[in-house]
Symmetry: C2
Amino acid sequence: MGTYRIAVLPGDGVGKEVTSGAVEVLQAIASRFHHQFIFKYGLIGGEAIDRKGTPLPDETLHMCRQSDAVLLGAVGGPKWDKNPPHLRPEKGLLAIRKEMNLFANLRPVKVYPSLADSSPLKAHIIREADLLIVRELTGGLYFGKPSGRRVENGEEAAIDTLLYKREEIKRILKTAFELARKRRKKVTSVDKANVLESSRMWREIAEEVACDYPDVELEHMLVDNAAMQLIRNPKQFDVLVTENMFGDILSDEASMLTGSLGMLPSASLSTTGPSLYEPIHGSAPDLAGQNKANPIATILSAAMMLRLSFGLNKEADAIEKAVQQVLTSGYRTVDVAKKGQHVVSTKDMVDEIRATI
Amino acid sequence: MGTYRIAVLPGDGVGKEVTSGAVEVLQAIASRFHHQFIFKYGLIGGEAIDRKGTPLPDETLHMCRQSDAVLLGAVGGPKWDKNPPHLRPEKGLLAIRKEMNLFANLRPVKVYPSLADSSPLKAHIIREADLLIVRELTGGLYFGKPSGRRVENGEEAAIDTLLYKREEIKRILKTAFELARKRRKKVTSVDKANVLESSRMWREIAEEVACDYPDVELEHMLVDNAAMQLIRNPKQFDVLVTENMFGDILSDEASMLTGSLGMLPSASLSTTGPSLYEPIHGSAPDLAGQNKANPIATILSAAMMLRLSFGLNKEADAIEKAVQQVLTSGYRTVDVAKKGQHVVSTKDMVDEIRATI
Ligand SMILES: CC(C)[C@H](C(=O)O)[C@@H](O)C(=O)O
Ligand SMILES: CC(C)[C@H](C(=O)O)[C@@H](O)C(=O)O
């Protein structure tokens, strides 16, 4: 019975197909629960470069700021790979994260029993794994200055800067502890404190923040060890919090617990404006336009939107249950299908989920 | 029939047990093949801090420089975790890498059929996987300046610097291509060129170097995708080359293909002086002094030393075959043992391997 404005940014490649699937699912929710979702569409990424000369046009940013939440598909493709840095699709994604202050990227990794087979990991390793990766999204190597080329003693050098300010680290750690409180009350803070100064500051601040959460256990883990432990024994993790680049690497790695990137949603939260929801997979140019992409990551991202931005828990549950049910019934897009299973198209998968809602 | 001077740096924790095991195996090789190995011992890491006030004493460095190769155990432990950065055990490791110009870290990952069971990955995923990670070891975030704290607009900030010079990138890529030539002729160069300037320079130089190796295939892969592909389909890789921090993370992750860090050797090569050989595992303080550590990684590191520093291929083969045979006979240290298998101590494992030689 509420009205919500949703900015939809399909982006490139499979982005269009998967966001259109998620919009259809949201419409099914609207009619079942009597809400009104107002969708407005904007350009981002490669198509924005082609049509507006920039990966994040001002009108897109303006529209997103006027909305209650943003749903994004994916950006990028070989067409723009040789472009100069400021005219790359990814720059649009990085710019919207920074401009909208989307500092906390939540990537839940939950293993569906019906999909345990499609993981490269043994069933007993992943069974019941359920972790939440909290990735810092607006700092670190992604945004630190200087970043560029220069000449050092007559030789060309390239430089990037890993910079974090105290408040940036504090707010992401607080977010992780708050989330852990609603879960199994354990935070694993991942860093490289034996080498990096930024990690040593990160670890100090983690200790400080932990004092305000005596009910939550804090554990530190080095990033190389974390990359190993995620596969060795993923069940040891509840909330894993880390800086931007480590989070990028570890969350893609963790996606393999579920067997496919095509299953994993994400939320990028701001405390000063609307939040953004997107699948963690990319634009998969080789699959685009073929009605084959897995829409589930984007549909589950929409469910996260309902829960985290609009407080519509029942509605979010309805989506998540429908996804689970459709998977249990054996429907699979090609990325997660095993021999003998019922392979369906993007559209069919969306229709099944809608019908179940 | 040759004489070789080997500097042995046991370091901390299990470092002592595993290096002493490798020395015994080298002695067995010496007597079977009529060589003379002259072992000299030096301090590094925590013990060096305790006894000499520095993690890399000058006499250690001098001794290493006078040797034909260096065999290192591992450094670090909780005792020194709260020390200031320049008095940490890891600093000794980083300093010896830099001082001896050990820019190319080779980490072969080979799955032993007899151990396929102890991997968390499904058998068909890892069966016959055989890759070589070539990690740049003396540049990037590990050594870039500035690295420290400062105040930015009245707020504390920490900064690390990812810096690479053209020649540093070129020599590691050349090393990777040379190694690929002797293997399956494929190089996967891992970077984050969609975000980092240093990665964009890396990719450019990879393209340039590739021109000199028309017989070797070059493929670029983003680091987040590589973290996923290593688990999804490790058999796609032959030589994987990457910068220091990415290499640290990906090689620990890749160790899970074999089921245990305790199996993986490494070589750190210099072109200007002796090279260094060490297991990729750490000092495992919780296992230290209990005669439980897996000595195989260090023993296989000694085999790499024979092959790469001394050109003793037959001798290296003899070690590698002995290890394989002992594993096939069912002997396991506790880290890789499954129910019902013959669990042996560090010493027993060393004795079995010596006896087999
Ligand atoms: C496309 C790329 C810039 C992006 C990132 O590295 O953050 C992506 O990999 C992600 O994880 O959202
Ligand atoms: C101990 C540490 C400094 C070291 C590194 O990060 O290089 C270790 O993890 C390694 O991989 O050899």
